[in-house]
Symmetry: C2
């Protein structure tokens, strides 16, 4: 059975697809067999990233390691119950196929609450939740007091993860290692950064997730999407900027924090 890594956060634009693509790229580079699944069949950003990668590799005659990718389409049946049954069947069949033949399955979820997203969360061995360094993003994890920044209680997404943990335990006795990573960290705003650090650490203890150091705001994380490349594809020793070097270190540090069963594969 493959190790399942899910990228999830109901908050839009937190960095799920970007992080998914970089986790996939590192695991491929380390020689693992990687399957990927896109549960956002309307936006298809991860699918598009992989398509761009295949097209670029083809038109430039460069061999690139590719994930074995699939998209799970939304159902268009008439009742909600029929849609859920159809989506569950196709998700489970897709996951079974991917898991049997690979070491890792990386699943990208949409930036909203959906039935497929909940299915994905319930099968996660590792759940990575990227978030912008902002109280707008934090608000989906927990509410804070505006004067004291004390945590007042969990929000909808934390509750959904809690639900998923229960479902996972009931399904096969397994557990979800939940890792929250800060993304697009600014080099500047110290005060806001410190406040978020404080509330994240307090919340981590309270609701049970681990914190990863995360990614800085760096254009190298986004500018290669049209060609499907990532910074992992760039030759070492080339004309690397300070930001490239730092970005590479951040990706490696994330993988280390995830504590994946690399040796057992």
């Amino acid at each position: 059975r493959a190790h399942v890594i899910v990228l999830g956060n109901e908050k839009g634009g937190s960095g799920k697809t970007t992080s998914a693509m970089h986790v996939i790229a590192v695991l491929l580079q380390e020689g693992f067999r990687v399957a990927s699944m896109d549960l956002d069949s309307r936006q298809r950003s991860l699918t598009r990233y992989v398509e761009n990668r295949a097209a670029w590799s083809q038109s430039n005659g460069v061999r690139l390691a590719m994930p074995d990718h699939q998209v799970i389409e939304l159902s268009d049946k008439e009742t909600v119950a029929e849609r859920q049954e159809d989506e569950r069947e196709r998700f489970q069949a897709g996951l079974a196929r991917a898991s049997a033949a690979h070491d890792f399955v990386v699943i990208d979820c949409p930036g909203s609450d959906s039935f497929l997203s909940r299915l994905g969360h319930a099968v996660a061995d590792t759940l990575i939740t990227p978030m912008n360094d902002s109280f707008v993003d934090f608000d989906l994890l927990a509410r804070v007091d505006p004067q004291t920044y004390e945590i007042k209680g969990p929000s909808v997404y934390s509750e959904m993860v809690w639900e998923s943990r229960k479902r996972r335990a009931m399904a096969d006795g397994g557990s979800i290692d939940w890792v929250v990573m800060r993304n697009r960290l600014s080099m500047l705003d110290a005060k806001n950064k410190r406040r978020l650090e404080g509330v994240l650490e307090a919340l981590a203890d309270r609701i049970g997730f681990r914190l990863a150091p995360g990614f800085g705001e760096r254009v190298i994380f986004r500018e290669m999407f049209p060609s499907g490349l990532t910074l992992l594809d760039l030759k070492e020793g080339g004309a690397w900027s300070m930001s490239h070097v730092a970005a590479r270190a951040e990706v490696r540090q994330l993988i280390e924090t995830l504590d994946l069963p690399l040796a057992e594969m």
Copy 2:
């Protein structure tokens, strides 16, 4: 009838809620009567912003201009057709109430495709589409060639806007002024920025939207969410940083670009 301003983009995290709140704040400051509607009843970021504002105003004894706010809840009926009918009825009733008693109605949409979002788009007088300065975000507007950056064709969100324009014209002969604004502009990456500028200008002519200068990446746009304040609430002449001054100018510039019927109100 009020002038309806819709914040829309199926791409998550592009800056819809942040822009909505700042447009609301400016219109309130100019003395207009403003109603706001949140079509994302699960994430509720705009609703939370407004709630935080009311709570802060209350506990600090400071009078703050407030929008007349409502959330349109998702339907939980059995079939998809029944859900859509229920959501349409409540949306239209909510809009009629808001439009009758205010000069402007500002509608915030979720970062995904939803029936309520499509209803919102179809009644827009002005549609503001914020986007990150990234080809990941641009991909929902159009596809580009990875070598030449030529536009290969419109994507799902542009097509949805096109649909909405048709629906609007059929409903009452009106038209949607579509304005795309770049958000979280970096002070650094010149190459990526120039490329995006090029493709946005080419696309604007081709599918008919106007470009607004947009907002820079500034912590002042996000750090006051827990208190519900915006930079418009800060006293002029206070200890303003360069970034505050620039941010204020960017918000004013957006309002100017929108070419709203301010005089007629």
